[in-house]
């Protein structure tokens, strides 16, 4: 695959509501970044559709967002496997990070 084609890829977007009790705190943050790191795509997350966006592969930056239960997580991704990455992350959040 050529890097140029990745750069040309448009951002794909997805959003999902945080329904687990504790929100995006320590363990969920780690699980989210671990999942995001399995993909080559650049993946970013935000709590508003317009950002500010943070790297979904950085637990430090995700913890700074302090997303709580009931908030909506917005994802945007670009790269060859962006679509699969979004599917995996949305599924993880919907499954409440496998914690409950």
């Amino acid at each position: 695959m050529k890097p140029e084609s990745e750069a040309m890829t448009l951002d794909l977007k997805a959003s999902v509501r945080l329904t687990n009790e504790v929100g995006l705190h320590a363990r969920p943050s780690v699980k989210l970044t671990q999942s995001a790191k399995r993909f080559r795509a650049r993946v970013e997350v935000a709590t508003a559709a317009g950002g500010p966006w943070v790297d979904a592969k950085s637990p430090v930056k995700i913890m700074r967002v302090k997303a709580l239960k009931g908030e909506t997580l917005h994802f945007r991704a670009s790269g060859a496997d962006a679509s699969q990455a979004l599917d995996a992350l949305v599924d993880l959040v919907q499954r409440k990070f496998g914690e409950e």
């Binding site: 504790v22 929100g23 705190h25 320590a26 363990r27 943050s29 780690v30 970044t33 671990q34 790297d55 950085s58 637990p59 430090v60 930056k61 913890m63 700074r64 302090k66 709580l68």
Partner: protein
């Protein structure tokens, strides 16, 4: 050869393990190198710290392993040290740059409204100190299950960073049985001995911490170890039995029901604790409302409401700001008092800051709309202080009424800590009374809580102190007025029989000691009471 060092028992029980000395980070220094050297030193320290935590995580399972995994994930994330590396490039030594970057990160967590995020600040403090230790060449504080921490003194955060679920103990050169870290140790049943003096530095190898007798045994003999093992097993059996009956009410042998409520320092303390196993909150401290939260009605209201909702109809006693004494708040308490325990603290300070006090009363009155809230004034000496607080509360209620904000009038009661107030209690008008036995004892026995040298004098079982408690229990409860006790003595199995005989029927204790307190109450037979007049 077995050797014994005597100190003061701060948390009951006995623990045998390898001595693990902790030298304070503030006592060490290092020579910084060039920015390139400093960058390399920090990179190396982060890698070594991450590897050490990984190793620790491998030996753990479940929640402990996941929390250590979180620390590793944070350390391995380059974003964590970005600020530190930038500062190093600008000429700052690695240890200062790292500490500053992590302190900024920690401040962000502490500013969170959500307790889950705030609670994670201790993980970051742990990460910060682990890396600093490597930078200072001190090695990791990788305390293994069952180790005994030996140190001059221990910070609450250092204590909390250790997983105590598989045993271990603490032996301190300084410290006091009434310190915050001692309270934590009792709440988690971690044996602790304090006040060992300078000889704490000689503790090494296998040591036995005997929190019951207040001593540490170095190189215990086979006979000592066998006896220790036996006592430890008996304690565990008793604890299991107590835990089994935690949800049952506390009734003495002769059938007297004793209310057992809990002391909390924040909403973190009720997480995972079933309200059904207690009779409500007997003391919610509000000193955690430092900084901005002192003036933040919404934040306070949110926290108080969380306590009220958790209690589901049980009384929630919230103490108004008890700053001063050994709990200074920058910009609020008075600096350089010659004797802060006898100075401006508690209600004395609150009445001098009516605006701030009003914010807290407003938040409390709003929370009272959701369930029974009891507002408790600390350090009261005279009736006019209660009356002044009552007038302020009236004004607050009128304001809320005018603004159309949901509220209710909370009960207004007091802590009985000042001996002069205790003697006069029959003439004092307040909705409820709660004996703060730690302060009442230090004032009545003239033994400062922060001075380990006089800790043995601060004995709640002194006949004079017990006499004061009996006087308050008898004359304070006239007309059915509730009288409770919320000091350390309430959860001390050695004190409980005497407190009940003195007439108390309500105790408030740390959540972790509810089961053991109830079990100690069940062993008391008040019908055997000797007719003593105190």
């Amino acid at each position: 050869m077995e050797r014994v060092i005597s100190g003061l028992g701060a948390a009951a029980g006995i623990a045998v393990g390898a001595a693990w000395p902790i030298h304070p980070l503030s006592a060490v220094a290092r020579m910084p190198g060039s920015p390139g050297d400093e960058r390399a030193a920090l990179t190396d320290a982060i890698h070594v710290a991450a590897a050490a935590i990984n190793e620790l995580a491998a030996a753990q399972s479940g929640e402990a392993a996941e929390m250590l995994g979180f620390q590793v994930a944070m350390l391995e994330d380059e974003a964590l040290a970005e600020g530190a590396f930038a500062a190093i490039a600008a000429g700052m030594p690695a240890h200062q740059a790292w500490a500053a970057a992590l302190d900024a990160e920690i401040a962000g967590y502490l500013a969170a409204d959500d307790p889950h995020f705030r609670a994670r600040s201790s993980d970051l403090a742990d990460i910060r100190d682990r890396v600093l230790r490597h930078l200072f060449g001190l090695g990791a504080v990788a305390i293994r299950s069952g180790d005994v921490i030996v140190a001059e003194d221990l910070q609450p955060s250092q204590f909390l960073a250790v997983d105590w679920s598989k045993g271990g103990g603490v032996a301190l050169g300084a410290g006091s049985p009434t310190s915050h870290v001692a309270t934590l140790a009792r709440a988690r049943s971690v044996p602790m001995v304090v006040g060992l003096g300078p000889s704490w530095t000689t503790l090494s190898g296998i040591v036995a911490v005997d929190g019951d007798a207040g001593r540490v045994i170095i190189a215990p003999s086979a006979a000592t170890l066998a006896e220790t093992e036996q006592r430890s097993a008996a304690r565990k059996t008793a604890a299991r039995q107590a835990e089994h009956r935690r949800l049952e009410p506390a009734v003495t042998r002769d059938g007297t029901r004793i209310a057992v409520s809990i002391n909390v320092s924040g909403v973190e303390d009720i997480a995972g604790f079933a309200a059904e196993s207690c009779d409500g909150i007997g003391l919610a401290r509000t000193e955690f409302l430092a900084g901005d939260a002192l003036d933040d009605e919404e934040r306070q209201f949110g926290l108080y409401r969380e306590l009220v909702r958790w209690a589901s109809g049980r009384p929630v006693t919230i103490r108004t700001l008890d700053a001063g004494g050994d709990k200074p708040i920058a910009g609020y308490t008075v600096d350089n008092e010659s004797n802060p325990f006898l100075g401006l603290r508690g209600i004395r300070l609150s009445l001098r800051h009516p605006d701030r006090f009003g914010v807290q009363l407003r938040a409390l009155a709003r929370a009272a709309a959701e369930g029974p809230v009891q507002v408790m004034l600390p350090m009261v000496t005279r009736q006019d202080e209660i009356d002044a607080a009552g007038r302020l509360l009236d004004r607050t209620l009128a304001e809320l009424q005018a603004a159309g904000i949901a509220h209710a009038r909370p009960q207004l009661g007091i802590m009985v800590e000042v001996p002069a107030l205790a003697f006069a209690i029959g003439d004092i008008r307040a909705d409820f009374l709660s004996i703060g036995s730690n302060d009442l004892t230090q004032y009545a026995a003239a033994a400062a809580r922060d001075n380990p040298a006089v800790a043995a004098y601060a004995d709640t079982l002194h006949p004079g102190v017990l006499g004061l408690i009996a006087h308050v229990a008898r004359h304070g409860s006239a007309g059915g007025r509730p009288v409770s006790l919320c000091g350390d003595a309430g959860a001390d199995p050695r004190s409980i029989p005497a407190l009940l005989r003195a007439g108390l029927r309500s105790l408030s204790v740390p959540p972790g000691l509810v089961a053991a307190t109830k079990e100690a109450i069940r062993a008391v037979d008040l019908s055997e009471e000797r007719g003593h007049e105190l």
